[in-house]
């Protein structure tokens, strides 16, 4: 499925934010992630489902992905 990360399309099979964060190599701290404009705090990543068409905004120091 496709999701957008900072307005760029990303192909993923991750079913939740924790798995997606691993795919994107996101650091465990110093980061703000919003899924469809809702900021998801780190402990909630595993419980945050990711679906086709979701829009993610990631604010973090070292940009990649």
């Amino acid at each position: 499925m496709k999701v957008t990360v900072n307005n760029r399309e990303v192909e993923t099979t991750a079913s939740n934010l924790l798995l997606l964060s691993q795919q994107l190599n996101l650091p465990p701290a110093g980061i703000a992630v919003a899924v469809n404009n809702r900021i998801i705090s780190r402990p909630q990543w595993e419980n945050c489902p990711i679906a086709h068409g979701d829009s993610l905004i990631i604010i973090k120091a070292v940009c990649g992905g």
Partner: protein
């Protein structure tokens, strides 16, 4: 996403304003304390940092890079007259989130090239929160900045700031703005906690596709 910028009002101190925002569900706090002494900022920063940690919220300090070096927030926000991004990066390292203030596309481009991680872009309209204000952007100003960013392939999260109310959120999100920064509209509400909850709900209901 919603960023709350602390403000000191007749009713609330800077630290209290951050506490209200967190209680209302905001998970991104910028501690901004203009006209305060470094000692006051240091003390407040320590307190707000521990509050943010408790709520797993991102914590940004406005301007004070030296204080940030000691306190270790998630990052800093640098205004147009503050320390350049590159210098702050040298001091705080690769792991710090560094945001910068932009009023024009040229500002956005410069901040992006300097290695900023997000842009606080504004002011949207006139606000009493900030004293030395650049020209207001309005919806049209944001439209032009966002479209030039796309033309130039500049992908960096943009947060709109400056006198934004709930009615502006859909219009701004529609343009491709990634977030909004709020301060006085929350604190001037009868119940700031409920107001924050309401605003976050409105921002969430807009799926930015």
């Amino acid at each position: 996403m919603v960023q709350f910028i602390t403000h000191c009002t007749g009713r609330y101190s800077y630290v209290e304003s951050a506490r209200l925002a967190l209680e209302g569900g905001c998970r991104w706090i910028q501690l901004r304390m203009k006209n305060s002494t470094p000692e006051e900022i240091y003390a407040a920063a320590k307190e707000v940092k521990s509050m943010c940690e408790k709520h797993h919220a991102t914590f940004i300090i406005d301007d004070c890079v030296e204080i940030a070096k000691d306190i270790h927030p998630d990052g800093v926000h640098l205004g147009k007259l503050d320390m350049p991004i590159g210098k702050a990066r040298e001091i705080l390292g690769e792991k710090a989130i560094i945001g910068g203030t932009a009023n024009t596309f040229e500002d956005v481009e410069n901040l992006y090239r300097a290695g900023a991680n997000y842009i606080g872009c504004g002011p949207f309209r006139y606000t009493t929160t900030k004293a030395n204000l650049s020209p207001i952007l309005g919806i049209e100003g944001y439209r032009q900045i966002i479209s030039k960013m796309k033309e130039n392939n500049i992908a960096i999260p943009v947060v709109a700031i400056g006198g934004i109310t709930e009615h502006d959120i859909p219009n701004l999100m529609e343009l491709g703005i990634d977030g909004i920064a709020l301060s006085s509209s929350i604190l001037n509400a009868d119940n700031p906690v409920e107001e924050m909850k309401r605003i976050i709900k409105i921002a969430q209901s807009w799926k930015n596709l």
